[in-house]
């Protein structure tokens, strides 16, 4: 039963240490098979009739993959076809040691009930534990352990079989030596490829096979294209001595031959090292952590401004790439040259499955094809598939298996198809995948934590709650909003003061910490709003029903109640869990109408007027303190109710009531932030908005100066004030443009844990402290804040992770990441729908303003569509016009016309769908007319449709 494990370990100081560890062998580890009658297991995982139809194994069988099979063929194992697999502990441990992401995936597979995967703890089983023999390497020992365990299984199943089911165990290995030895000991053993190819029902699995080593030799010529990567030990030594630098590779979006490596060094803030050319990139892929060696100074180059895409048919590996790279060799001024280096080794690959499309090989019979990822920073990948013809025009996912040094492209394998390119659902899927937005349906485990319907408020729920159902509470939201997370009320007290309440959906009542629902929500972090689609953070039952503060139903809420005087000064603040019954769910417009309608004097309207009055004062106060009112154009699509295609596009309108709601939300957030920070100085979850560094404002200052307007950026207040006064006669849109520019200068606001940071200031809101409390249905941060506040007022109990500042901080990182990604996804979604919109519109002619001036282009904003686009002045097919760029202005002189920021121009807008993966909006100049540059005004034909758009 007891065995001690002894091994020798080297200490840090160089001494040799003998470490003795206990290793218990057990006789109560069961085989996990349904067919087994010997083992006294409580629950079985492996099925009795474990049938995968296969030519090789016509009998029911269990699969035992070895470590390398798991590491390389995880995609296969993930397939639902593959069931009844025995993962040995030896394998699990080795995988854990070798690759964290695959380990994670393996664990997911194990947890999947339908897969029937059983983990057999062979290392602690009395009969399958083996000791390493003298002269045996660790790997050999593990291989032997796997064989011994497989052998045990086959004998065990044979012995326990009363009825002749003929259950067998099949060992999968790719190692020739291992296979041979297994055969010698009488095991059923196949190579993974052999086995998969033998599967009758599922030929498509073959495509997912990762290319293994011996196959690679077939496709690639023996010619070595890339220098060898250095071993990790030498890289580490090099980094230590300073000859190599470590950093994350960021491939250039525009030029596949160029990348930068951001190196974090102790002595400075970090530098960027330029990597140019395939040889120097040396098989590094975007996001990989690499080791870089600097080139001698005379080989330094400047980043090229050329746009280069790896296009065309697959290049033969033998062909020299010099032609491609010659393009780069433009002599640059000495001053423009940058630190240049080459990649000598990869410290950590950061490969994920990539979305993209297949370029079918010109040879019809070929099974090897190139795959072009949607993300331009990722190189093209060579995959092998027999279903190329059916994959053409589809968005597919591909994983990289490796990049041998004699191959021009990385090798990968097909994972799955997402659907036809250009289709809305497919594109949405791509968008979500590329932005890492978790969007699968909620799992059964998650849904099991939902309250049972029909749900009602129980007396236990009332114990710590105030009954505020009698108050005249109402909610004001955008039209069509189903996840109402805030409601308001205002009433006059007997002492003449006003009582204002903000009632927020009590989501934390339904989502209890630590359960699957909570974990899922924490992972999702935020609800993602795409055009016409919402990716919920919490299941719909909560988001649109139980938590949503709909009118005329009792709902649980978390209330923040102030007593204010008529000057909007807060006299008293109070937080409480409550039950409310909203009297009305209004849209902004409806609320505005009620306020404006002087004849209407019902409770709701009076309450709204009171709120509106206070909000105006609050806003004034806030602006006086230096809060910024910034501007960005947001657009709304009018969707066709059947096809869900955008039929109209309009910029969002802001009403007084918008700002009324916003004002109280801000106030609630600030009050809550103070409260939780007082209570939990170490672990309050807050939100900060750092002041931007002065250099960020350069562009704004220059732009304003061109119109003789002075902008002060010393403080938020100075900026706000100077923005307020910035006006140019006859150019009403100037102020908005200026604000749009100012917005671009800002930093990103982030969540953080108060124990980990000292700077709490929120620059944009000019508040010393801030958090998010008011939207728990769609933001996870708010749920945490709710929990903190609940503990602070004694309405709920605390739990371990809530007060652990490191866990809190890790959570913040995830929330910030999800938040950023959701914004990108949102933008991408808008862009996609804009494209769809213009696709149906044909070519349009619109008025716009120059927002930025670039070296070879101007960026134009079309206020009508909130659309931004680039007008290039040099294109491939045309001779470049005379362009002169002045950085001071900044201005761009094209032929005889000089473009300034804020210039009014007219452009045509059309959809460029020449590249189906990267459709884009193309703009061309129509006014001012510059010979050879501007285009003619398009036919009036689309104008015919226009009246419908004008509103």
């Amino acid at each position: 039963m007891l065995k001690s494990k002894t091994f020798v370990k080297k200490t840090r100081s160089g001494g040799v240490m003998k470490i003795v560890r206990e290793h218990y062998l057990r006789d109560d580890i069961w085989c996990g098979s349904e067919a087994c009658t010997e083992c006294k297991h409580e629950s079985t995982v492996l099925q009795k009739d474990a049938c995968i139809e296969s030519n090789l194994c016509s009998y029911p069988h269990y699969l035992v993959p070895d470590t390398n099979v798991v590491l390389h063929q995880i995609d296969i194992l993930e397939d639902p076809v593959i069931r009844n697999v025995i993962i040995l502990q030896t394998v699990l441990q080795e995988v854990r040691h070798r690759s964290a992401p695959i380990y994670k995936r393996l664990k997911d597979i194990i947890h999947e009930k339908e897969k029937h995967v059983y983990t057999f703890t062979n290392e602690h089983h009395k009969e399958t534990f083996i000791e390493r023999e003298p002269g045996e390497s660790a790997n050999d020992r593990n291989d032997r352990a796997i064989r011994v365990a497989a052998k045990w299984y086959s004998q065990h199943l044979k012995a326990s079989e009363a009825e002749a089911d003929g259950l067998k165990v099949v060992l999968l290995t790719n190692d020739q030596g291992n296979k041979q030895k297994a055969e010698e000991s009488g095991l059923l053993v196949y190579k993974c490829e052999e086995y998969i190819k033998s599967l009758i029902a599922n030929p498509e699995l073959v495509d997912r096979l990762a290319l293994s080593n011996d196959e690679k030799n077939e496709i690639t010529s023996s010619k070595v294209l890339f220098p060898e990567h250095l071993p990790l030990s030498r890289i580490q030594a090099g980094i230590k001595s300073g000859t190599f630098l470590q950093g994350t590779l960021r491939a250039s979006r525009d030029n596949y031959l160029e990348a930068t490596v951001f190196v974090q060094r102790e002595q400075d803030d970090g530098t960027e090292v330029l990597i140019q050319g395939l040889q120097n990139l040396n098989r590094a892929v975007h996001q990989d952590v690499v080791a870089v060696q600097l080139l001698p100074r005379n080989q330094w180059v400047a980043p090229s401004s050329v746009v280069l895409q790896d296009e065309g048919p697959a290049k033969d590996d033998g062909v020299e790439d010099e032609d491609e790279e010659n393009v780069l060799k433009t002599s640059a001024a000495e001053s423009a040259r940058k630190l240049t280096g080459k990649v000598v080794g990869i410290i950590k690959r950061n490969w994920r499955p990539f979305c993209g499309m297949l370029n079918v090989s010109h040879i019809k019979e070929s099974t090897r094809h190139l795959f072009t990822p949607a993300d331009r920073r990722i190189p093209r990948i060579r995959i092998e598939t027999r279903q190329a013809s059916s994959l053409v025009g589809q968005r597919i996912m591909v994983a990289i298996d490796g990049w041998p040094k004699d191959s021009r492209y990385p090798n990968g394998h097909f994972v799955r198809s997402l659907g036809g390119a250009g289709e809305k659902d497919t594109e949405q899927e791509v968008l979500l995948l590329e932005h890492d937005v978790p969007h699968q349906a909620f799992s059964q485990a998650v849904l099991s934590f939902l309250p049972k319907m029909p749900w009602s408020i129980t007396p236990e729920d009332m114990v710590k709650r105030e009954d505020l159902r009698s108050l005249t509470v109402c909610s004001v939201d955008p039209p069509g909003c189903t996840d109402i997370d805030d409601a308001l009320h205002c009433r006059e007290l007997e002492n003449g003061n006003l009582e204002v309440g903000v009632h927020i959906a009590d989501v934390s009542h339904f989502i209890r910490s630590g359960n699957a629902l909570d974990k899922e929500a924490a992972n999702r972090g935020t609800t993602v709003y795409l055009c016409g689609k919402r990716i919920d953070m919490v299941p719909e039952l909560l988001s649109s029903n139980l938590c949503s503060l709909r009118s005329n139903v009792d709902r649980l809420a978390f209330s923040c109640i102030w007593e204010m005087n008529h000057k909007a000064e807060i006299l008293k603040t109070r937080f409480t869990k409550s039950v409310i019954n909203s009297k009305a769910s209004l849209t902004y417009a409806e609320a505005q109408m009620r306020i404006d309608d002087t004849n209407n004097n019902d409770d709701i309207t009076v309450s709204l007027r009171g709120l509106n009055k206070l909000a105006k004062i609050l806003k004034r106060q806030r602006i006086a303190k230096g809060a910024l009112t910034l501007s960005s154009l947001e657009v709304r699509f009018h969707m066709d109710s059947e096809t869900h295609d955008p039929i109209d596009l309009q910029t969002k309108e802001l009403m007084e009531t918008n700002s009324m709601v916003e004002e109280f939300m801000l106030l609630a957030n600030i009050s809550v932030a103070q409260k939780i920070h007082d209570e939990f100085p170490e672990c309050a979850l807050l939100r900060k908005h750092p002041a931007p560094p002065p250099s960020n404002y350069d562009i704004l200052l220059k732009a304003a100066k061109s119109k003789d307007v002075e902008i002060h950026t010393d403080s938020a207040k100075a900026l706000a004030d100077s923005l307020d006064v910035a006006k140019v006669d006859g150019f009403p849109y100037f102020n908005t443009l200026l604000r749009i520019l100012a917005t671009r200068c800002m930093m990103q606001a982030v969540y953080f844990c108060s124990g980990m940071d000292s700077d709490f200031h929120h620059y944009g809101l000019a508040s010393p402290i801030y958090t998010h409390f008011t939207s728990p249905i769609r933001r996870y941060a708010d749920i945490i804040v709710h929990r903190l506040l609940a503990v602070a007022i004694g309405a709920d109990s605390t739990y371990a992770d809530l007060t652990d500042k490191h866990k809190q901080s890790a959570l913040c990182n995830n929330l910030n990441y999800r938040h950023k990604m959701s914004q990108y996804a949102q933008r991408a979604s808008v862009a996609f729908h804009t494209q769809l919109f213009f696709k149906s519109r044909g070519v349009l002619n619109e008025e716009g303003f120059v927002l930025f001036v670039r070296k070879n282009a101007i960026i134009v904003l079309i206020p009508k569509f909130g659309l931004e686009g680039t007008v290039f002045f040099d294109s491939k097919d045309k001779a470049a016009p005379n362009i002169a760029f002045d950085e001071e202005g900044p201005t761009l002189k094209v032929e005889h016309h000089t473009f300034h920021i804020f210039d009014k121009v007219k452009v045509t807008i059309s959809l460029d769908d020449s590249n189906i993966q990267h459709q884009k909006i193309r703009m061309a100049l129509t006014e001012p007319v510059i010979a050879g540059v501007s285009v003619a005004i398009p036919d009036a034909e689309p104008q015919a449709k226009k009246p419908k758009l004008d509103r």
Partner: protein
């Protein structure tokens, strides 16, 4: 790379035990003729030797004498060869002083010191090999030694360390687990009455988990007490058979 996986999904720990399982405990009483009581105890790879002298007249400074009960004097030490790295361990370093103090507190709670006014009971414990849970092993060894010395106690004192991993309490941590960043708790229990003689924890743990952890520690201590009980009864039987009629 993440550290060691202390508890696998299948519920096995690094050394193959389940979460609630103790290590193998082996013990022998009366290993020295010279001392009044002595015992040797192995708990997995942690091995300790405990020796008890007394009760006897106060030695050293007489000022420490208590007029209503006996003074318990504990000394904890570790052998130079007890850890993987050989290390000279001078007497009275901070760690062993603290440990001595803990032992003293533990045994003051269990030994009926009021029966021996003005006297002194010496308990010396030495760790011969250390593999986690030093405190508990010392307590368990010392309990046997005290019983061997025929000194009256209310009950056995059994100690056990428990750690908290993945929301699961692990009983009787080994060194690898202790150093794996687990918040661990040591508990000495008088198992019959369920009184806690000493509870020590210097890691951070959320209040919600404390109860489950203590619960687990108590169960583990009761497990230890069963083993000790067996050892004592065995010893008793042997001796009474030896002494014949």
């Amino acid at each position: 790379m993440a550290g060691l996986e202390l508890l696998s999904d299948q519920g096995y720990r690094l050394d193959g035990r389940k979460a609630t399982e103790l290590r193998k405990v082996q013990a022998r009483m009366g290993v020295f003729a010279q001392a009044d009581g002595s015992a040797y105890l192995e708990q997995g790879n942690t091995k300790a030797l405990a020796v008890v002298y007394g009760p006897h007249e106060m030695r050293g400074s007489r000022s420490r004498t208590l007029h209503d009960r006996a003074v318990i004097n504990c000394q904890y030490s570790m052998a130079t060869f007890s850890t993987a790295e050989r290390k000279r361990r001078p007497h009275g370093d901070r760690k062993s002083t603290e440990m001595s103090l803990h032992l003293k507190q533990t045994f003051e709670a269990a030994v009926m010191t009021q029966l021996y006014p003005r006297s002194q009971i010496d308990i010396y414990v030495k760790i011969l090999q250390s593999d986690g849970g030093n405190y508990s092993v010392c307590v368990n060894a010392a309990t046997l030694a005290v019983i061997d010395a025929g000194i009256p106690m209310r009950d056995y004192v059994c100690a056990c360390t428990v750690g908290f991993v993945d929301e699961t309490p692990l009983a009787d941590l080994c060194f690898a687990e202790e150093s794996g960043g687990v918040s661990s708790l040591a508990l000495a229990l008088l198992p019959r009455g369920g009184q806690i003689a000493l509870l020590q924890m210097d890691a951070r743990l959320h209040q919600d988990h404390l109860e489950t952890l203590i619960e687990a520690a108590m169960t583990a201590c009761k497990g230890v007490s069963k083993v000790l009980d067996e050892v004592v009864r065995q010893h008793l039987q042997e001796r009474s058979v030896l002494s014949g009629e």
